[in-house]
Amino acid sequence: MSPLEAWELVLVKGSFLNSTHGALGCTACHLGNPQATDKEAAHEGLVAMPSDSVDHFCGSCHADIVVNHKNSLHTNLKCYYTQIEKRLGYDISGDPSVVRNFNKECAKCHASCGQCHVTRPVSVNGGFIDGHNFNKEPNSKDNCTACHGSRVGAEYFGENEGIPGDVHWYSQLMHCSACHTADAMHGSSATAKNRYTDTDMVRCEDCHADKKTANTFHSMHWGQLSCQVCHSQPYKNCNSCHTGGEGITGSSYITFKIAKNPIKSPERNYEYVPVRHVPIARNTFASWGISDLPNYNAEPTWKYATPHNIQRWTAQTDTTGSAWCGAKCHNSDYWLTLEDLAPDEVEANKDIVLTK
Protein backbone atom coordinates (compact mmCIF):
# COMPACT_ATOMS: atom_id res chain seq x y z
CA MET A 1 0.00 0.00 0.00
CA SER A 2 1.72 3.15 -1.19
CA PRO A 3 1.49 6.27 1.00
CA LEU A 4 -0.68 9.13 -0.18
CA GLU A 5 -0.07 12.87 0.08
CA ALA A 6 -2.67 14.92 1.92
CA TRP A 7 -4.17 16.29 -1.30
CA GLU A 8 -4.43 12.81 -2.83
CA LEU A 9 -6.63 11.63 0.01
CA VAL A 10 -9.54 13.78 -1.15
CA LEU A 11 -9.01 14.01 -4.92
CA VAL A 12 -12.27 13.03 -6.61
CA LYS A 13 -12.34 11.38 -10.04
CA GLY A 14 -14.69 12.79 -12.66
CA SER A 15 -16.13 9.31 -13.12
CA PHE A 16 -17.56 9.46 -9.61
CA LEU A 17 -19.93 12.23 -10.64
CA ASN A 18 -21.59 9.87 -13.10
CA SER A 19 -22.03 7.13 -10.52
CA THR A 20 -25.17 6.48 -8.50
CA HIS A 21 -23.63 7.92 -5.36
CA GLY A 22 -22.04 10.84 -7.19
CA ALA A 23 -25.40 11.82 -8.65
CA LEU A 24 -26.68 12.47 -5.14
CA GLY A 25 -24.55 15.60 -4.95
CA CYS A 26 -21.81 16.23 -2.38
CA THR A 27 -23.96 17.93 0.23
CA ALA A 28 -26.52 15.12 0.37
CA CYS A 29 -24.02 13.14 2.45
CA HIS A 30 -21.32 15.61 3.47
CA LEU A 31 -23.34 18.76 4.15
CA GLY A 32 -20.97 21.76 4.28
CA ASN A 33 -21.45 24.93 2.26
CA PRO A 34 -21.01 24.52 -1.53
CA GLN A 35 -21.44 28.24 -2.15
CA ALA A 36 -18.44 29.24 -0.01
CA THR A 37 -15.31 30.60 -1.67
CA ASP A 38 -12.65 29.35 0.75
CA LYS A 39 -11.81 26.01 2.32
CA GLU A 40 -12.74 26.81 5.91
CA ALA A 41 -16.13 28.25 5.03
CA ALA A 42 -16.87 25.47 2.56
CA HIS A 43 -16.14 22.88 5.23
CA GLU A 44 -18.27 24.48 7.91
CA GLY A 45 -20.63 21.81 9.19
CA LEU A 46 -18.89 19.23 7.02
CA VAL A 47 -19.58 15.55 7.70
CA ALA A 48 -16.29 14.05 6.57
CA MET A 49 -17.36 10.44 7.14
CA PRO A 50 -21.11 10.10 6.64
CA SER A 51 -21.06 6.37 7.31
CA ASP A 52 -20.26 7.10 10.95
CA SER A 53 -24.01 7.81 11.02
CA VAL A 54 -24.70 4.61 9.18
CA ASP A 55 -28.43 4.38 9.76
CA HIS A 56 -29.03 7.97 8.64
CA PHE A 57 -26.89 8.06 5.51
CA CYS A 58 -26.08 4.52 4.24
CA GLY A 59 -29.19 2.99 5.78
CA SER A 60 -31.59 5.30 4.00
CA CYS A 61 -30.95 3.33 0.79
CA HIS A 62 -29.20 0.17 2.00
CA ALA A 63 -31.36 -0.69 5.00
CA ASP A 64 -31.18 -4.41 4.25
CA ILE A 65 -27.39 -4.36 4.46
CA VAL A 66 -26.84 -2.11 7.46
CA VAL A 67 -29.57 -3.67 9.58
CA ASN A 68 -27.06 -5.87 11.42
CA HIS A 69 -24.07 -3.56 11.41
CA LYS A 70 -24.13 -3.21 15.18
CA ASN A 71 -23.29 -6.93 15.38
CA SER A 72 -20.24 -6.51 13.19
CA LEU A 73 -16.96 -6.80 15.04
CA HIS A 74 -15.63 -4.09 12.73
CA THR A 75 -18.30 -1.79 14.14
CA ASN A 76 -18.58 -2.75 17.78
CA LEU A 77 -15.00 -3.94 18.44
CA LYS A 78 -16.48 -6.42 20.88
CA CYS A 79 -13.42 -8.59 20.38
CA TYR A 80 -11.20 -6.02 22.12
CA TYR A 81 -13.89 -5.07 24.59
CA THR A 82 -14.40 -8.68 25.70
CA GLN A 83 -10.72 -9.40 26.17
CA ILE A 84 -10.12 -6.24 28.19
CA GLU A 85 -13.09 -7.07 30.42
CA LYS A 86 -11.80 -10.59 30.99
CA ARG A 87 -8.37 -9.37 32.01
CA LEU A 88 -9.77 -6.60 34.21
CA GLY A 89 -12.35 -8.92 35.74
CA TYR A 90 -15.35 -6.61 35.55
CA ASP A 91 -17.92 -5.03 33.23
CA ILE A 92 -16.15 -1.95 31.91
CA SER A 93 -19.33 -0.23 30.73
CA GLY A 94 -19.65 1.13 34.27
CA ASP A 95 -16.11 2.49 34.35
CA PRO A 96 -16.09 5.89 32.58
CA SER A 97 -12.31 6.14 32.73
CA VAL A 98 -11.75 2.82 30.92
CA VAL A 99 -14.53 3.54 28.42
CA ARG A 100 -13.06 6.96 27.69
CA ASN A 101 -9.60 5.49 27.10
CA PHE A 102 -11.03 2.62 25.09
CA ASN A 103 -12.87 5.03 22.81
CA LYS A 104 -9.82 7.27 22.49
CA GLU A 105 -7.33 4.52 21.62
CA CYS A 106 -8.84 1.13 20.79
CA ALA A 107 -11.88 2.49 18.97
CA LYS A 108 -9.65 4.13 16.38
CA CYS A 109 -9.74 0.76 14.66
CA HIS A 110 -13.51 0.93 14.23
CA ALA A 111 -14.31 0.53 10.54
CA SER A 112 -17.40 2.16 9.07
CA CYS A 113 -18.97 1.38 5.67
CA GLY A 114 -16.90 4.07 3.98
CA GLN A 115 -13.61 2.79 5.36
CA CYS A 116 -14.12 -0.49 3.51
CA HIS A 117 -15.97 0.64 0.40
CA VAL A 118 -14.69 4.17 -0.33
CA THR A 119 -11.49 5.08 1.50
CA ARG A 120 -8.61 3.45 3.26
CA PRO A 121 -9.22 3.07 7.01
CA VAL A 122 -8.83 6.16 9.15
CA SER A 123 -6.16 4.37 11.21
CA VAL A 124 -3.86 4.75 8.18
CA ASN A 125 -4.98 8.33 7.41
CA GLY A 126 -7.82 7.33 5.09
CA GLY A 127 -7.83 8.53 1.47
CA PHE A 128 -9.94 7.63 -1.54
CA ILE A 129 -9.05 4.31 -3.13
CA ASP A 130 -10.60 5.13 -6.49
CA GLY A 131 -11.36 8.84 -6.49
CA HIS A 132 -14.44 8.47 -4.25
CA ASN A 133 -15.96 5.72 -6.42
CA PHE A 134 -17.60 3.07 -4.26
CA ASN A 135 -16.11 -0.42 -4.43
CA LYS A 136 -18.59 -3.20 -3.79
CA GLU A 137 -15.76 -5.49 -2.70
CA PRO A 138 -13.18 -3.99 -0.37
CA ASN A 139 -9.66 -3.91 -1.74
CA SER A 140 -7.48 -6.54 -0.04
CA LYS A 141 -4.42 -4.28 0.19
CA ASP A 142 -5.93 -0.81 0.60
CA ASN A 143 -8.71 -1.86 2.94
CA CYS A 144 -8.38 -5.25 4.64
CA THR A 145 -4.65 -5.49 5.21
CA ALA A 146 -4.33 -1.76 5.83
CA CYS A 147 -5.48 -2.83 9.30
CA HIS A 148 -4.84 -6.57 9.27
CA GLY A 149 -1.42 -6.13 7.75
CA SER A 150 1.26 -6.62 10.35
CA ARG A 151 0.45 -10.28 10.77
CA VAL A 152 -2.22 -11.62 8.41
CA GLY A 153 -1.29 -9.38 5.47
CA ALA A 154 2.42 -10.09 5.74
CA GLU A 155 1.70 -13.80 5.87
CA TYR A 156 -0.77 -13.85 3.01
CA PHE A 157 1.33 -11.80 0.60
CA GLY A 158 4.60 -13.52 1.54
CA GLU A 159 6.21 -10.46 3.12
CA ASN A 160 7.87 -12.29 6.01
CA GLU A 161 11.46 -12.88 4.94
CA GLY A 162 12.07 -16.35 3.60
CA ILE A 163 8.48 -17.49 4.07
CA PRO A 164 6.35 -17.88 0.94
CA GLY A 165 2.89 -16.38 0.86
CA ASP A 166 -0.41 -18.19 0.92
CA VAL A 167 -1.23 -20.56 -1.92
CA HIS A 168 -4.70 -19.02 -2.14
CA TRP A 169 -3.02 -15.74 -3.10
CA TYR A 170 -0.06 -16.53 -5.28
CA SER A 171 -1.67 -19.47 -7.04
CA GLN A 172 -5.31 -18.45 -7.17
CA LEU A 173 -5.17 -14.66 -6.58
CA MET A 174 -8.01 -15.00 -4.11
CA HIS A 175 -8.80 -11.72 -2.42
CA CYS A 176 -9.91 -11.54 1.20
CA SER A 177 -13.56 -11.33 0.21
CA ALA A 178 -13.35 -14.70 -1.51
CA CYS A 179 -13.47 -16.33 1.94
CA HIS A 180 -14.63 -13.52 4.22
CA THR A 181 -18.12 -12.94 2.94
CA ALA A 182 -20.19 -9.76 2.96
CA ASP A 183 -22.69 -11.34 5.34
CA ALA A 184 -20.01 -12.08 7.90
CA MET A 185 -18.43 -8.63 7.51
CA HIS A 186 -21.81 -6.90 7.80
CA GLY A 187 -22.62 -8.50 11.14
CA SER A 188 -24.85 -11.48 10.46
CA SER A 189 -23.78 -13.16 13.70
CA ALA A 190 -25.48 -11.50 16.65
CA THR A 191 -23.55 -13.48 19.24
CA ALA A 192 -20.02 -13.02 17.96
CA LYS A 193 -17.60 -11.89 20.63
CA ASN A 194 -14.57 -12.49 18.47
CA ARG A 195 -13.86 -13.70 14.95
CA TYR A 196 -13.89 -17.36 15.95
CA THR A 197 -17.33 -17.21 17.55
CA ASP A 198 -18.81 -15.56 14.47
CA THR A 199 -21.19 -18.19 13.14
CA ASP A 200 -20.47 -17.06 9.57
CA MET A 201 -16.69 -17.13 9.93
CA VAL A 202 -15.25 -19.21 7.15
CA ARG A 203 -13.47 -22.49 7.87
CA CYS A 204 -11.14 -24.39 5.53
CA GLU A 205 -13.54 -27.32 5.60
CA ASP A 206 -16.25 -25.20 4.00
CA CYS A 207 -14.41 -25.59 0.69
CA HIS A 208 -12.15 -28.56 1.30
CA ALA A 209 -14.49 -31.07 2.97
CA ASP A 210 -13.83 -33.52 0.16
CA LYS A 211 -10.23 -33.90 1.35
CA LYS A 212 -11.24 -35.63 4.58
CA THR A 213 -9.84 -38.97 3.47
CA ALA A 214 -7.53 -37.71 0.73
CA ASN A 215 -4.45 -39.23 2.38
CA THR A 216 -3.36 -41.11 5.49
CA PHE A 217 -2.62 -37.92 7.43
CA HIS A 218 -6.07 -36.54 6.74
CA SER A 219 -7.75 -39.83 7.63
CA MET A 220 -5.90 -39.95 10.94
CA HIS A 221 -6.05 -36.30 12.02
CA TRP A 222 -9.07 -34.67 10.32
CA GLY A 223 -11.06 -32.84 12.97
CA GLN A 224 -8.46 -33.51 15.65
CA LEU A 225 -5.95 -30.99 14.30
CA SER A 226 -6.93 -27.71 12.71
CA CYS A 227 -5.80 -27.57 9.09
CA GLN A 228 -3.22 -24.91 9.94
CA VAL A 229 -1.34 -27.28 12.25
CA CYS A 230 0.01 -29.03 9.18
CA HIS A 231 -0.48 -26.50 6.40
CA SER A 232 0.64 -23.15 7.78
CA GLN A 233 4.17 -21.88 8.09
CA PRO A 234 5.89 -19.86 10.83
CA TYR A 235 4.17 -16.55 11.59
CA LYS A 236 4.67 -13.31 13.46
CA ASN A 237 4.25 -13.06 17.22
CA CYS A 238 4.39 -10.04 19.54
CA ASN A 239 4.75 -10.06 23.30
CA SER A 240 3.97 -6.62 24.61
CA CYS A 241 1.92 -3.64 23.68
CA HIS A 242 1.46 -0.33 25.38
CA THR A 243 -1.37 2.14 25.34
CA GLY A 244 -0.74 5.86 25.57
CA GLY A 245 0.62 6.20 22.06
CA GLU A 246 3.71 4.05 22.57
CA GLY A 247 2.45 1.15 20.48
CA ILE A 248 4.07 -2.24 20.49
CA THR A 249 7.28 -2.48 22.47
CA GLY A 250 9.93 -5.07 21.94
CA SER A 251 10.63 -6.92 18.73
CA SER A 252 8.20 -9.21 17.02
CA TYR A 253 9.47 -12.66 16.21
CA ILE A 254 8.64 -15.46 13.81
CA THR A 255 7.83 -18.86 15.20
CA PHE A 256 5.36 -21.71 14.93
CA LYS A 257 3.81 -23.28 18.02
CA ILE A 258 1.15 -25.93 18.48
CA ALA A 259 -0.91 -26.14 21.68
CA LYS A 260 -4.20 -27.49 23.01
CA ASN A 261 -7.14 -25.63 21.53
CA PRO A 262 -7.93 -22.78 23.96
CA ILE A 263 -11.40 -22.08 22.48
CA LYS A 264 -12.96 -25.46 21.72
CA SER A 265 -16.47 -25.13 20.35
CA PRO A 266 -18.80 -27.26 18.22
CA GLU A 267 -17.58 -25.40 15.12
CA ARG A 268 -13.91 -25.54 16.12
CA ASN A 269 -13.66 -28.74 18.04
CA TYR A 270 -10.01 -29.43 17.24
CA GLU A 271 -7.78 -30.81 19.98
CA TYR A 272 -4.65 -29.06 18.73
CA VAL A 273 -4.16 -25.77 16.92
CA PRO A 274 -1.38 -23.29 16.15
CA VAL A 275 -1.17 -20.52 18.74
CA ARG A 276 0.16 -17.01 18.36
CA HIS A 277 1.48 -14.85 21.18
CA VAL A 278 -0.68 -11.75 21.27
CA PRO A 279 0.61 -8.29 22.22
CA ILE A 280 -0.42 -8.20 25.86
CA ALA A 281 1.53 -7.66 29.05
CA ARG A 282 0.58 -7.04 32.66
CA ASN A 283 1.28 -3.31 32.22
CA THR A 284 -0.28 -2.86 28.79
CA PHE A 285 -2.84 -0.42 30.21
CA ALA A 286 -0.48 1.48 32.52
CA SER A 287 -1.28 4.77 30.81
CA TRP A 288 -4.93 4.22 31.70
CA GLY A 289 -3.95 4.00 35.37
CA ILE A 290 -3.95 0.18 35.38
CA SER A 291 -0.35 -0.79 36.10
CA ASP A 292 -1.04 -4.51 36.62
CA LEU A 293 -4.03 -6.24 35.02
CA PRO A 294 -5.84 -7.86 37.97
CA ASN A 295 -7.13 -10.80 35.91
CA TYR A 296 -4.14 -11.18 33.62
CA ASN A 297 -4.33 -14.97 33.82
CA ALA A 298 -7.96 -15.17 32.73
CA GLU A 299 -6.94 -15.79 29.13
CA PRO A 300 -3.92 -17.48 27.56
CA THR A 301 -1.35 -15.08 26.13
CA TRP A 302 -0.87 -17.60 23.31
CA LYS A 303 -4.05 -17.35 21.30
CA TYR A 304 -5.85 -19.64 18.82
CA ALA A 305 -4.40 -18.70 15.44
CA THR A 306 -5.20 -19.21 11.80
CA PRO A 307 -1.99 -18.13 10.06
CA HIS A 308 -2.69 -17.01 6.51
CA ASN A 309 0.33 -18.59 4.84
CA ILE A 310 -1.12 -21.94 3.79
CA GLN A 311 0.91 -24.36 1.71
CA ARG A 312 0.32 -27.97 0.78
CA TRP A 313 3.91 -28.82 1.57
CA THR A 314 5.30 -27.34 4.76
CA ALA A 315 8.04 -28.30 7.18
CA GLN A 316 5.40 -30.39 8.95
CA THR A 317 4.00 -32.21 5.93
CA ASP A 318 7.26 -32.84 4.10
CA THR A 319 8.52 -35.96 5.85
CA THR A 320 11.42 -36.55 3.48
CA GLY A 321 14.26 -38.16 5.38
CA SER A 322 12.25 -38.59 8.58
CA ALA A 323 12.43 -41.80 10.57
CA TRP A 324 8.63 -42.04 10.54
CA CYS A 325 5.66 -40.08 9.27
CA GLY A 326 5.05 -38.17 12.51
CA ALA A 327 8.65 -37.43 13.34
CA LYS A 328 8.43 -33.77 12.33
CA CYS A 329 5.52 -33.03 14.67
CA HIS A 330 5.32 -35.45 17.56
CA ASN A 331 7.39 -34.33 20.55
CA SER A 332 8.88 -31.61 18.39
CA ASP A 333 9.97 -28.03 18.97
CA TYR A 334 6.67 -26.96 17.42
CA TRP A 335 4.97 -27.88 20.67
CA LEU A 336 4.28 -25.03 23.07
CA THR A 337 5.73 -26.19 26.38
CA LEU A 338 6.37 -24.62 29.77
CA GLU A 339 9.91 -23.83 28.61
CA ASP A 340 8.47 -21.44 26.00
CA LEU A 341 6.69 -19.32 28.60
CA ALA A 342 7.89 -16.28 30.50
CA PRO A 343 7.63 -16.86 34.27
CA ASP A 344 4.68 -14.48 34.67
CA GLU A 345 2.57 -16.15 31.97
CA VAL A 346 2.78 -19.78 33.09
CA GLU A 347 -0.51 -19.58 34.94
CA ALA A 348 -2.33 -18.00 31.97
CA ASN A 349 -1.22 -20.76 29.60
CA LYS A 350 -1.04 -23.80 31.86
CA ASP A 351 -4.14 -25.40 30.34
CA ILE A 352 -2.91 -25.28 26.76
CA VAL A 353 0.78 -26.24 26.96
CA LEU A 354 1.91 -29.67 25.82
CA THR A 355 4.22 -32.03 27.67
CA LYS A 356 6.87 -33.91 25.77
Partner: protein, 69 residues
Protein backbone atom coordinates in the same frame (compact mmCIF):
# COMPACT_ATOMS: atom_id res chain seq x y z
CA UNK B 1 -71.99 -0.18 -7.65
CA UNK B 2 -72.39 -2.15 -4.46
CA UNK B 3 -70.95 -1.13 -1.09
CA UNK B 4 -68.61 -4.13 -1.32
CA UNK B 5 -67.20 -2.92 -4.64
CA UNK B 6 -66.63 0.57 -3.23
CA UNK B 7 -64.70 -0.87 -0.30
CA UNK B 8 -62.55 -2.99 -2.58
CA UNK B 9 -61.78 0.00 -4.80
CA UNK B 10 -60.89 2.14 -1.79
CA UNK B 11 -58.55 -0.57 -0.51
CA UNK B 12 -56.85 -0.84 -3.91
CA UNK B 13 -56.47 2.93 -4.03
CA UNK B 14 -54.86 2.99 -0.57
CA UNK B 15 -52.41 0.23 -1.51
CA UNK B 16 -51.47 2.06 -4.73
CA UNK B 17 -50.82 5.30 -2.83
CA UNK B 18 -48.65 3.46 -0.30
CA UNK B 19 -46.60 1.75 -3.01
CA UNK B 20 -46.05 5.00 -4.89
CA UNK B 21 -45.01 6.76 -1.69
CA UNK B 22 -42.35 4.09 -1.02
CA UNK B 23 -40.97 4.42 -4.55
CA UNK B 24 -40.44 8.16 -4.31
CA UNK B 25 -36.77 9.22 -4.65
CA UNK B 26 -35.24 9.70 -1.22
CA UNK B 27 -32.88 12.31 -2.59
CA UNK B 28 -33.38 15.02 -5.18
CA UNK B 29 -32.17 14.39 -8.71
CA UNK B 30 -28.52 14.86 -9.59
CA UNK B 31 -27.15 18.30 -8.95
CA UNK B 32 -23.82 17.84 -10.66
CA UNK B 33 -24.66 20.31 -13.41
CA UNK B 34 -25.16 22.96 -10.77
CA UNK B 35 -21.95 21.99 -8.99
CA UNK B 36 -19.87 21.92 -12.15
CA UNK B 37 -21.21 25.26 -13.33
CA UNK B 38 -20.51 26.94 -10.03
CA UNK B 39 -17.07 28.50 -9.59
CA UNK B 40 -16.99 27.78 -5.87
CA UNK B 41 -18.56 24.35 -5.65
CA UNK B 42 -17.16 21.27 -3.88
CA UNK B 43 -16.27 19.51 -7.11
CA UNK B 44 -14.38 22.41 -8.61
CA UNK B 45 -11.82 22.06 -5.87
CA UNK B 46 -11.94 18.31 -5.26
CA UNK B 47 -11.53 17.47 -8.94
CA UNK B 48 -8.51 19.75 -9.29
CA UNK B 49 -5.24 18.31 -7.98
CA UNK B 50 -3.39 21.64 -8.25
CA UNK B 51 -6.00 23.48 -6.18
CA UNK B 52 -5.96 20.73 -3.55
CA UNK B 53 -2.17 20.83 -3.31
CA UNK B 54 -2.34 24.53 -2.48
CA UNK B 55 -4.81 24.17 0.38
CA UNK B 56 -4.07 20.68 1.78
CA UNK B 57 -3.14 20.42 5.44
CA UNK B 58 0.01 18.29 5.91
CA UNK B 59 -0.59 14.85 7.36
CA UNK B 60 0.58 13.88 10.84
CA UNK B 61 3.28 11.19 10.96
CA UNK B 62 1.72 7.72 10.78
CA UNK B 63 2.61 4.74 12.94
CA UNK B 64 3.72 2.13 10.44
CA UNK B 65 3.52 -0.59 13.09
CA UNK B 66 -0.17 0.03 13.67
CA UNK B 67 -2.54 -2.76 12.83
CA UNK B 68 -4.50 -5.74 14.01
CA UNK B 69 -3.41 -9.25 13.13
Amino acid sequence: MSKKHVLVLLALLAVTVLILAQCTEKYPAATKELNLASGNSCVNCHLDAEKLKKVATPLPPSNSDAGEG
